[in-house]
């Protein structure tokens, strides 16, 4: 107690020994090197990582299952997916390595790059060797070995950008203050919508709402917006493209019990639900499921419709377990946010949790017939290199936040009292 150094230095003692000059706000704005460099490997992001790997392995198994009864060993698609799983883990590790404050620093740059890529795919004179339209949609940039979908990157960049935007603001607690984030959201959303990729475009909404909820926006404001948008949704119907209208119509018909279109516009939905239901409680087993999936010729069974294969193979229990993995994934991300004091880190975790939970819910919802079919992958599970790698980038980001323990004196963000 007489000034001799204690055996273990407390944070208070350390701050006193290396005082940081400036207001409390500068505490979080100081250069990363000046921040408290605490790295911990005991954190909830392991849950997220574990769920991710579990989902990816499940995806590889089910992708292999869709190769048909005549396939032997690991199929081409499953092998590629396994390779991309390794790449994804590596990419996640790379993203997790630098302190997320560095990432925050380059967020404006990342956002601009994402916007630029979204614009790039829409430029009509770009050679088809680079951007090849598929079914009239311009979404993919060819990387020779695989295709890259800029909107995948844009979703992450958007989360980073909005986290950066919200971190020291509180004007979003007014209705007027909700307008700027909405306008910012419209930029990537609009570009994705033009591709067209309605499903991905609609994901920006849940991401924004998740971050607003966590950031302390007034819930009744958000509820009001949801109500208004729900009421206005039918008015948007005429603006939909013909194939989008057909999908909505197919869903409405199916919900009404009208099976006349099961061989036309509702073919994919009908086949998917048939395969899902055929799984029963515990699934059909490997070989039978492989045959059933093969001969039912479900379009995109290895991709957007992979949940139908999961349910067919593992039944209701498998389907619920898959949903449970997503809950675990989001739970890990939210626990990470809960353990973080930094507003940027908090919102990054919340935004990514919102993204994955929403994307998984929409994909599962469209597969089991409660939402119209949109071209949307099931995160970590559906076949696709860029999808899997960007999914693990998200895991890396959450891991990054989780590893950096907050300073004890760091001010907790988004605490607006009990109102709200």
């Amino acid at each position: 107690m007489s000034g001799a150094p204690t055996q273990r230095e407390t944070p208070i003692e350390r701050v006193r020994r290396e005082p940081v000059i400036g207001s409390p706000r500068t505490l979080t704005e100081t250069a990363p090197a000046a921040q408290i460099p605490r790295v911990s490997l005991r954190h909830p992001a392991w849950i997220t990582l574990g769920a991710s790997v579990g989902l990816a392995l499940l995806g590889i198994y089910c992708i292999n299952l869709t190769a048909g009864v005549s396939a032997e060993g690991l199929s081409f698609h499953a092998t590629r997916q396994a390779v991309f799983l390794l790449l994804g883990l590596g990419a996640g590790a790379v993203v997790a390595a630098p302190h997320y404050a560095h990432i925050r620093a380059i967020t404006p740059l990342l956002s601009l790059a994402a916007i630029a890529l979204l614009v790039f795919v829409l430029i009509p004179w770009v050679p088809e060797a680079i951007v090849k339209p598929r079914n009239g949609a311009r979404r993919w940039i060819s990387l020779v070995v695989t295709d890259f979908q800029p909107s995948e990157l844009a979703k992450i960049a958007y989360v980073l950008a909005m986290a950066s935007y919200f971190r020291f603001r509180k004007n979003y607690r007014t209705l007027k203050g909700l307008i700027p984030p909405a306008l910012i959201t419209l930029v990537p959303m609009g570009l994705v919508l033009v591709e067209p990729d309605l499903g991905t475009a609609l994901l920006f909404g849940p991401m924004l709402f998740a971050m607003l909820i966590a950031a302390g926006a007034k819930l009744w404001h958000l509820a009001l917006i949801v109500l208004v948008m729900s009421a206005a949704a039918p008015a948007m119907y005429p603006a939909l493209r013909p194939h989008q209208k057909a999908r909505v119509q197919a869903l409405i018909n199916q919900l009404k019990g009208d099976d006349r279109f099961n061989d036309s516009i509702n073919y994919q939905g009908d086949r998917a639900q048939t395969l899902v239901g055929a799984g029963g409680l515990a699934g059909l087993g490997g070989e039978k499921s492989r045959a059933v999936v093969d001969f039912n010729e479900l379009p995109e069974d290895h991709n957007d419709m992979i949940f139908a294969v999961i349910s067919n193979r593992f039944g209701f229990l498998g389907g619920v377990a898959t949903m449970g993995l997503y809950v675990l994934w989001a739970g890990g991300a939210l626990l990470t946010a809960a353990g973080c004091k930094d507003p940027y880190g908090r919102l990054v975790c919340v935004g990514l949790a919102g993204l994955v939970a929403a994307q998984a819910s929409v994909n599962i919802g469209m597969t089991i017939g409660v939402l119209p079919i949109t071209g949307m992958t099931l995160p970590f599970v559906s076949y696709g290199g860029s999808s899997l790698v960007t999914s693990f980038l998200m895991v890396g980001l959450i891991f990054n936040v989780a590893m950096r323990r907050p300073a004890y004196l760091q001010r907790k963000s988004f605490e607006f009292g009990k109102g709200g």
Partner: protein
């Protein structure tokens, strides 16, 4: 891991997000449970369907045979060619052109307006149209069917399908309109035809465009079809063949009435032998067929292998229709699990044969005798027909029953029609309301019974104690003393000098002579003694009020008593004793009654199909002496000069009606006063306004015939509509029936001439 501190607003908000996530997943789990747990079994069955390849194995329809084992109807192996409706209608060319355009302009396609798309598609159309034309040219070349004819078939199929679609759509619209009208929700627009005009099954299914293709042509066509697997199919099209559809008969004209007699044989081609009885097939499956034999039993869910499929042939008339389920058989089914290769096979079960009691050659011979070219069914000068012009065609029917078994050996209705006529120009069969070829007169049209009932009335009266055979009855010309204009004997007419049988013979008539002379007064007397109730019971015992249960559609009952009135009045009973008044029956009823007489009161229900049911026997308990007297009267009617069935009288000559040797014929003639035959009712307000097509009496002759000196073996009933006097008109036909029985070996005395049988030429 830091603990959650709920006093933190951020943490509370995280809990909100957790709740939202869990809530969403819970809802999704609910739908997942609905699909997997509630509907799992049903959806599994649905999902497994594509794993099983099902192939139906065609069966063979049973044959129809005549009593001698001749094959009357049989399936012949051949192939049919089916084309998808889009090929037939030509829409395939546009669909494919649109696909071509979309493939080539994938990037721009989505941006084009409908009009621009259509214009683009039309640039690709000629290539596809040429391809379509090449398909049809190929079919024409390989089948040998001219292209023009194929075009006609295409047009006919399209027209028929469009008519059907219009009808179905209108029904759908009306049903939707009914729902709309029943609901109170007027925010929903009234349904229009456009709302229900989705393609019907026939617009998305294949149709047969070529039938009866040979093996060689089918092989070549399979090569063509392999290039268009979804558009062209060569299928097993085993066709129903009727070997006795057309038969050439050599008719001995030396036995015909003198004005028609020739010492030679005339070959007559009989088309459509026994068409009425055998029936024919239709190529379309109706909703009624599907409802009658659904693919799976709605109660048990069992698969019926005899269910109907598009393109099946279905029995459409006669035995083909009545015994459809017996003849049809059951398909085989090959089920192959595509994932395991496991094979499960149910072999087809051929339909059972149906054996008729008819002798098709006897039938053909009788039909030939009734060919108008030989004169018996045209009005002749010696017929004495005062209502129908000379040379006019007369409709007639002849039925032959085997006395010992009650089997119908022949049942001819003239005019008739061929199956080819029915299939190619069916409307022409139904175009003549006077001669009505579609009616099977032998069993489907009742006629006033006339004097042919007299021997039966005699037996009944004696049996019931209403008459004593030892009592002769005097013919007074008219039955009621003070009413010379009513209830007269046929002889009491100006043309016969208002004479009576008693004045002609000088004595009262006994039963046999009264029958042979067909004295009305004798039988009026019996009718009066029997009374209405017993008269009704008598005719009922002969089955007059019931249609015969032969298994044939369209069999008709006779008429007994006036409609809506049970009681037979005394005067009606008097008239019914000579077969007039409220009594009519079919030729089969008449033949049945005479066969019963020949069996001395043992009635055997006539049958047309062997083994269908146990023969229905009934002993009517007839008085043996009365039966003998009746048969004696019938014999005298033919054998004695005074018999009404003895001769045809010409201006200066006469000749026997029956001229077959080696046989004993007992017969009774009858001339039935008939109502007019009218045409279709033009205004639908009752038959009275329909135009009268023909008037005059119906001519009857009913005969029992057997070997000379032997018991009657066959009963023959002949009726000629509006033919006039029974003996002169129906008698010669009955005589030819007896000759036909001789020719076919049923009676002794046939000529050495045989017929030549010609199979019908099957149209492709």
């Amino acid at each position: 891991m830091p603990g959650l501190r709920l006093e933190s607003m951020f943490h509370r908000r995280l809990l909100v997000l957790v709740a939202l996530t869990l809530g969403g997943m819970f809802l999704l789990s609910g739908q997942l449970a609905r699909l997997t747990l509630a509907s799992g079994a049903e959806l599994l069955a649905e999902a497994e369907k594509p794993l099983v390849s099902r192939r139906w194995v065609e069966t063979q329809r049973g044959r129809i045979l005549d009593r001698t084992g001749r094959v009357l109807a049989v399936d012949r192996p051949s192939f049919d060619v089916e084309a998808h409706y889009s090929v037939i209608s030509g829409s395939w060319a546009y669909t494919e052109a649109a696909r071509d355009a979309r493939r080539e302009h994938g990037e721009d396609w989505a941006k084009l307006s409908d009009f621009a798309r259509d214009a683009l598609v039309r640039t690709y159309l000629p290539t596809r149209v040429n391809e379509l034309e090449a398909i049809w040219d190929g079919l024409s070349m390989l089948s040998g069917v001219p292209r023009d004819e194929l075009e006609e078939r295409r047009t006919a199929i399209v027209a028929r399908t469009q008519r059907l679609a219009s009808s179905v759509w209108e029904k759908r619209r009306l049903a939707r309109h009914k729902e709309w009208a029943a609901s109170r929700d007027r925010s929903v627009e009234q349904p229009t035809l456009a709302d229900v005009a989705r393609p019907i099954r026939e617009q998305v299914a294949p149709h047969v465009v070529l039938r009866g293709v040979s093996d060689g042509a089918a092989f070549e066509m399979r090569k063509l079809a392999s290039s268009y697997p979804t558009l062209l199919r060569i299928i097993d099209g085993g066709r129903r063949s009727y070997p006795f559809e057309s038969v050439d008969i050599a008719v001995d004209l030396s036995t015909y009435p003198r004005p028609l007699e020739l010492e030679s044989f005339e070959t007559v081609r009989v088309e459509g032998v026994a068409t009425h009885a055998i029936g024919w097939m239709r190529e379309r499956v109706f909703a009624e067929d599907l409802a009658r034999r659904p693919k799976t039993d709605p109660r048990t869910g069992r698969l019926d292998l005899g269910h109907y499929q598009t393109g099946d042939a279905v029995g459409n008339a006669g035995v083909e229709m009545a015994f459809e389920d017996v003849l049809r058989g059951e398909r085989g089914l090959r089920r192959v699990r595509l994932d395991t290769g496991e094979l499960e096979e149910t072999l087809p079960a051929a339909g059972a044969d149906v054996t008729l009691t008819l002798d098709v050659m006897l039938q053909a011979r009788i039909a030939a005798a009734m060919d108008p070219a030989l004169g018996l069914t045209e009005v002749q000068p010696w017929h004495g027909n005062r209502t129908v012009a000379l040379g006019e065609r007369l409709a007639a029917s002849a039925v032959v029953l085997d006395v010992s078994s009650g089997e119908i050996m022949a049942m001819v209705s003239a005019p008739s029609f061929s199956r080819e006529q029915m299939q190619t120009d069916g409307e022409s069969v139904f175009a003549d309301p006077l001669l009505s070829p579609w009616v099977n007169r032998g069993v489907a049209r009742p006629y006033p019974a006339a004097s042919i009932v007299k021997p039966l009335v005699l037996v009944e009266a004696v049996t019931r104690g209403a008459h004593d055979l030892s009592h002769a009855i005097e013919c007074t010309g008219h039955f009621f003393p003070n009413s010379p204009g009513k209830f007269r004997c046929w002889i009491y007419r100006a043309r016969y000098g208002m004479s009576t049988h008693t004045s002609v013979t000088g004595h009262a008539l006994d039963a046999a002579e009264a029958l042979a002379r067909s004295c009305n007064i004798y039988f009026y007397t019996l009718g009066q003694r029997l009374g209405g109730a017993r008269m009704r019971a008598f005719y009922e015992s002969l089955g007059v009020e019931r249609p015969y249960d032969l298994g044939l559609p369209g069999a008709s009952a006779g008429f007994l008593g006036y409609r809506g009135r049970e009681v037979i009045e005394p005067n009606e009973a008097i008239m019914m004793a000579i077969g007039q008044g409220p009594i009519s029956w079919t030729p089969l009823h008449a033949a049945d009654a005479y066969a019963t007489l020949a069996r001395r009161g043992l009635r055997i229900e006539p049958s047309l199909v062997r083994g269908r049911k146990r023969p229905d026997y009934a002993n009517l308990g007839w008085d043996a002496g009365a039966v003998s007297a009746a048969l004696e009267g019938l014999r005298q009617g033919v054998a004695e000069e005074f018999g009404t069935a003895h001769h045809i009288a010409y201006d200066t000559q006469r000749e026997p009606i029956f001229n077959a040797t080696g046989v004993t014929v007992m017969a009774k003639t009858g001339t039935g006063q008939a109502t007019s035959t009218r045409g279709p009712d033009p205004d639908g307000d009752g038959p009275e306004s329909a135009p009268v097509l023909r008037n005059g009496d119906h001519a009857w002759t009913v005969a029992l015939v057997g070997p000379e000196g032997g018991a009657p073996a066959y009963a023959v009933a002949v009726v000629v509509e509006h033919g006039g006097p029974g003996g002169r008109v129906a008698g010669p036909i009955a005589n030819q029936v007896i000759h036909a029985l001789q020719e076919e070996g049923y009676l002794p005395g046939g000529s050495a001439e045989t017929s030549t049988e010609t199979e019908g030429v099957e149209p492709q």
